[in-house]
């Protein structure tokens, strides 16, 4: 085997904390967590250079299972908190994790604003189409007709489409993965982290307790269609939107869209403005002169 000149600085285990996950055995989030460890090792930033923010829900426990700085915050408010962290400390690598309810219902109003500001965050949504932590209520991505404890006769609502929603708001990076393909998922998360700007990774992460049988890891393995295998061009937003319309009908995995010419991030623009204003700033010793009539 060819000897690499530089060995990786960090390994997946360096990002694993002592805290043991309490998810239901077989939960899709176990696989997502493994993929996150591997992606972080591949990116090669030290744990203390990473902040992981989450909202509330099963998947929002993820920050505690990593050695990065973590903030298991308020329901639906992970994105505003993460934006604040990134603006206050632009050198941190900021990741956000949460479920579909946290991201597209309780916190749904924050998603478009994080996208339009284009703050350099990686948002990993574990989309299981159900509120699992609270025992199986209808969630924003639950399919129409789904029987749950809050839709006993079947849901009458159309689901939110996270892929189409974020693409339509102009997200520069939108991808989807499943823990059924851990290698593929780790690659997607790594690519999302490396993308300079807001990136969304929607992970179809099955709920073993309240999820449907045809939406479990084994079923995903049989149903998944990698976008690379159908010749999708990830630089074509319209083609991505076209494919994204199949959300809930087909399980496409991979990068739907990656802006080939990423615009400057909000954090970069803020830094630039701070620099230009600093040049025009009145020196401290002359501040009082501004209030004294001459």
């Amino acid at each position: 085997m060819k000897e690499p000149t530089v060995l990786p600085t960090y390994q997946a285990k360096d990002f694993k904390s002592e805290l043991k996950p309490i998810w239901c055995p077989g939960c899709g989030d176990f696989g997502v967590l493994q993929a996150i460890y591997r992606a972080l090792a591949a990116v090669g930033r030290a744990p203390h250079e990473i902040a992981f923010v989450s909202g509330i829900g099963c998947s929002s426990r993820i920050p505690g299972y990593t050695t990065a700085y973590g903030f298991n915050s308020v329901h639906g408010r992970a994105l505003p908190i993460a934006q604040g962290i990134k603006l206050a400390n632009p050198d941190l690598l900021v990741l956000v994790a949460g479920g579909d309810g946290d991201g597209f219902s309780i916190g749904g109003g924050h998603v478009p604003h994080a996208i339009r500001r284009n703050i350099d965050l990686t948002y990993i949504v574990m989309d299981n189409q159900i509120y699992g932590l609270t025992k199986g209520q209808l969630s924003p991505t639950s399919p129409k007709g789904l029987h749950t404890v809050t839709s006993d006769l079947g849901s009458l609502e159309e689901p939110v489409n996270p892929l189409l929603y974020t693409l339509a708001y102009g997200a520069g990076f939108v991808a989807q993965g499943t823990p059924a393909d851990m290698a593929g998922l780790a690659d997607i998360i790594e690519e999302a982290i490396r993308y300079p700007g807001f990136s969304l990774v929607n992970v179809q992460s099955p709920c073993v307790t309240f999820g449907e049988d045809d939406n479990q890891v084994k079923a995903h393995r049989a149903a998944m269609k990698p976008l690379s295998s159908i010749g999708h061009d990830p630089t074509n937003r319209i083609a991505a939107m076209d494919l994204a319309q199949q959300y809930g009908k087909a399980l496409h995995t991979g990068v739907f869209f990656k802006n080939p010419s990423p615009p400057p991030t909000y954090d970069a623009l803020v830094r630039e403005r701070q620099r230009s204003l600093a040049e025009k700033a009145v020196p401290r010793e002359r501040l009082l002169d501004m209030f004294v009539q001459k």
Partner: protein, 175 residues
Amino acid sequence: MDKTRKIDFATIGLRDALDLAVLIEEEAKERYEEFADSMEKHHTPAAAKFFRFMRGIEELHEAKLKGQRSELFGDARRVVTREMIYDIEAPETGEPRTHMTARAALEIALGAETKARAFFEQAIERVKDSSVGSLFEELRDEEIEHQELVRKMIAKLPPEDAGDIRDYEDPPVTL
């Protein structure tokens, strides 16, 4: 061979092959430990006990392979990393269930041994170094032995209670 990354089986040498084998056992050991912890937390003691047993088996194999590696290559730099392998002998993360029976746990292990055997069989077809081929054949044969061991353990189990797993679910809670 979609369970590995950046490993060229046509050119792999014995040192890297041994390192790969160690990492495969390490990954399986950690996964069984995770399953055992999870089962204990979720009140599934029979499955927890079996997964803990499997963890011990994988640890023994890991130690044996590490010993071989150390004897042949000392502290030579390791270039194969865990990030290059994906669930080769480790059972899949999505397999266990709360309140699963011991039989179901054994079947997960059987599945893991079966896929590990398939992995080594595919690898053997690709390797060119004869010492690596012999190592992989040895490892494949061990997987066959393990499959037999697990099958025998399954055969010894008493018939299963056909109770509905939903009987064990927590009742709804109201405040």
